[in-house]
Symmetry: C2
Subunit: 338 residues, 2 copies
């Protein structure tokens, strides 16, 4: 592809995504210029997804647009931020002929466009390069939050309740199915689980709704146990949850009935893009009202307790039928699993 | 690498780069939280560099840290922005054993640290992933500019002078040398040219100094002719420059004396990371004072003229000894040259 060819692709596929963002300057300048809303702090996050590591080469390209924005928007959700705009880096395999690039970009940018509409963000800049390696997609998301209003991982307090949104483990099962591992699911459940893996739905409304209530929050990208562990570590507390309280979809519950040994996979498999957060017991009614207002189911799954001197230290601990559940065989999502 | 291993690498190599940036929240949260300075617009740019495309596998890792920030900072320089912070995405080859990763990160982050000091930016967030492909590095840079103060590509006016900073073509020759192509240079010139390719120096001070004076500006990443062509296209004018006025380093001038056929390579090779800009004739003294204040040599290399109806349209046109120089054999840097 020539430099001229690259400009033609930008004009055809990316400028429409920037059309409603004056900050993008039509994608014709060296950088975007954004007017900060008055009295807000800027929230910034970046995430990369790589073919063969975070997605499959035959995932629909539009789902990659959805996923790339979702994994970043989920970080903004965890902070309670309102997303606004993003910049994009797309590294396309240099072996792809132009028609394949065009076909891929057509679908990929359609997925981006759907998520832009759904979450109110706009493309403001980017870079398109060739790579001798796999498709590699990076987005940096920008959002805004009231000063001091960002939720943090380190704010959990002893006796807080631990809440989680939505259902946990669907994406881990969807990944197993995409890998060709057999699971006892019918066609509808199979499609639903794979959809959870391919098209995460970031909990932005919920994040904003609980931002004034929760003591601590994180999004679940590395797995419930790992991400709750990050909250516990940053807060220097123990988070003790009951596996029996963890909300499961009907599909996941049916799988677990048939294959109970998959419980650790559900709890630590990653890619849920739900929120896990803690809040004082007294605020439980407000949390539940906020969640209802955001159309996001939340479930209380445990409690924060103090770290005892000489004990095992800050951690997420899972109980199952009253006994600690050993999770060392599945200690969190591994970005390097490729 | 386990998730725990990834956290250890972040703590060891990246948290020190974030230590002086409160916005980074210690790299322990889902996103960075930045306080916008009062009365400023946010300027955002992102660029990716890929091994085998934008750099060589045996380039010193610290030079990659320098280059990754420089290619982004250069975009902010072209807008006249003051850089502030950045987020980083590092995709490391999954075949690398841990000692190699540690050795590479040690050098790479040293290069980042040097550029942080030199240009006053701090790391505020990032992502570390594995890739089955080549090293792939992305940074998103954030800076600030006075409202309406950002330079654009589209502001060039008929009769403006065309200026360029520094010297042109050194990086293109450095790239030729790195590729093993023979050039008539001594050891010192060889080292200087390769250094220009490996460690670009973004013209941030110059960008800020001319922001109130220049009508249009771009940084030179795709090559002088291509980037001046972008200015001409965005401004709907013709930019006519005299190749004999283009400033060359002593090393490049010596090469050109011996190999005059390399002139198009110098003018369109890319990776200079100088600024090309236009300004009214009457402001030439102020431009020269601003450049002196920024310790950045600038040279007038041509003039903006009107596009004539029925003519060839907006373009950059190069004259050489009074004749148009055909450049179709080297029509701009190609990101897809990998």
């Amino acid at each position: 592809l020539s430099s001229a060819g690259e400009f033609a692709l930008i004009a055809r596929f990316f400028q429409p995504l920037a059309a409603e963002s004056p900050a993008a300057l039509g994608l014709e300048d060296d950088a975007a210029v954004i007017d900060p809303p008055a009295g807000r702090q800027l929230v910034v996050t970046t995430d990369t997804i790589v073919e063969g590591v975070h997605f499959f080469g035959d995932d629909p390209p539009d789902s990659l647009g959805v996923k790339l924005l979702a994994v970043n928007l989920s970080d903004l959700a965890a902070m309670g931020a309102v997303p606004a705009s993003y910049v994009l880096s797309v590294a396309l395999p240099s072996a792809w002929p132009l028609p394949r690039i065009e076909q891929w970009l057509d679908s990929f940018t359609r997925g981006l466009g759907q998520s832009q509409q759904a979450y109110g963000v706009g493309l403001v800049g980017g870079d398109t390069v060739a790579t001798p390696g796999p498709l590699t997609l990076t987005a940096t998301l920008l959002g805004w939050v009231e000063p001091g209003g960002a939720m943090r991982r380190g704010g959990a307090k002893v006796d807080d309740l631990v809440f989680v949104s939505g259902t946990i483990g669907d994406a881990a099962l969807g990944l197993m199915l995409r890998r060709g591992e057999p699971l006892p699911v019918d066609a509808a459940a199979r499609a639903a689980l794979i959809d959870r893996y391919q098209r995460p739905r970031p909990r932005l409304e919920l994040g904003r709704a609980i931002a004034g209530l929760a003591h601590a929050a994180a999004d679940i990208s590395d797995g419930l146990i790992a991400d709750l562990g990050h909250v516990a570590a940053a807060s220097r507390v123990a988070a003790v949850i009951d596996a029996g309280l963890v909300p499961l979809s009907a599909a996941a519950a049916a799988v677990l009935d048939a294959r109970p040994e998959l419980l650790p996979v559900l709890l630590s498999g990653g890619d849920d893009y739900e929120l896990v957060f803690t809040a004082p017991v007294a605020l439980r009614p407000q949390i539940e009202r906020a969640a209802a207002g955001a159309a996001a189911p939340v479930t209380c799954i445990g409690r924060i307790s103090a770290v005892e001197p000489g004990g095992p230290g800050p951690r997420a601990e899972v109980h199952w039928h009253g006994q600690p559940l050993p999770l060392h065989t599945a200690a969190g999502y591994n970005h390097f699993r490729g």
